[in-house]
Amino acid sequence: MHEPAADFAAGILSSLGGAGRIPPPFGPPLPLALVAVGGVVGLVLASSLARSWRVDPELRRASAFLVLFFGGVLFASLARPIGFGGRTEMAVLPVWLWTVALAGERSRFLRGATWSAVAIASVSTILLVVAPRGPSVAERTLEALERTGRPGDVLFAGASFYLPARLAADRGRLPMSVHAFPLEQASHPGWTVSRRSRPEDDAAVRRALDRTGSTGRVFFEVPPSYRKELRPLVAPRGVTRRIVESPEVILLVWSPK
């Protein structure tokens, strides 16, 4: 799986409960409390469906279809990173809505839970619509890197920051070599924050630090959660400065001692 199993499950359930996980490029995230309530409502709806699927053949078919779909994705995710909370469930979201609407006609409790999901989804939609739209911190960070980067520099970019950086470098706007962190993100770029990095990711960072000349710099444009993993890699070998820090992204620059 590409992201921790708990994040995957929470992302799916909150989306089913009406508060989807918003990928950073699409706007600011929904309030954590709303996502948490959405997750609880999604869990309640799923467990209620699991209890009531025997009463109706249509409910049984729909529940079996959804279970097989998510089970298949989960199983395949053990081998390849294809499951993403906030994205995977889009394939069957209308079927899920149809199923809970049908179940709501047969159970007062499920009807209440369904209306709760509708209320959460309405609040989520309003928050998304009124959210300010403009260049994100990540976009501004990349623009600054384009202006100040030098050919000897190296950039490690993770999550949703890798693909824009890769494109900027390939199009000649970003004058530095770009690597994904973790490396697997290069073969499957996306906005999801990967689970912990592997030894080969750490080795790639060490190689880049070793190769950097006295005037070169190594930048890290990554989600803040990666900072703990990067610290033991970069701290003993040079000076690291934090240039940008926001809930979405941190930009660190390393230079030799």
Partner: protein, 78 residues
Amino acid sequence: MLLLYSAEARAYALLSLTGVLLFLLAFVLPERPRNLAAIALLSAVSLYLHYLALFVVAALTTVAAAEKRPRSALAALG
């Protein structure tokens, strides 16, 4: 979310549409030749749209076969 994804030219909105149409055709509407042809067509289209459709079609085929709707199952397989 679907609106956001559709605005970003992702295939998810279309995948959702084909997914729910396949589901309704396979499990809710009667197994008529016209519906079976639509299942086959939508199944092929959804597989062209996104790799997640593979799991949609696989789940659909399995449930249709288990629910004694073998023609829908076969149509989904093309």
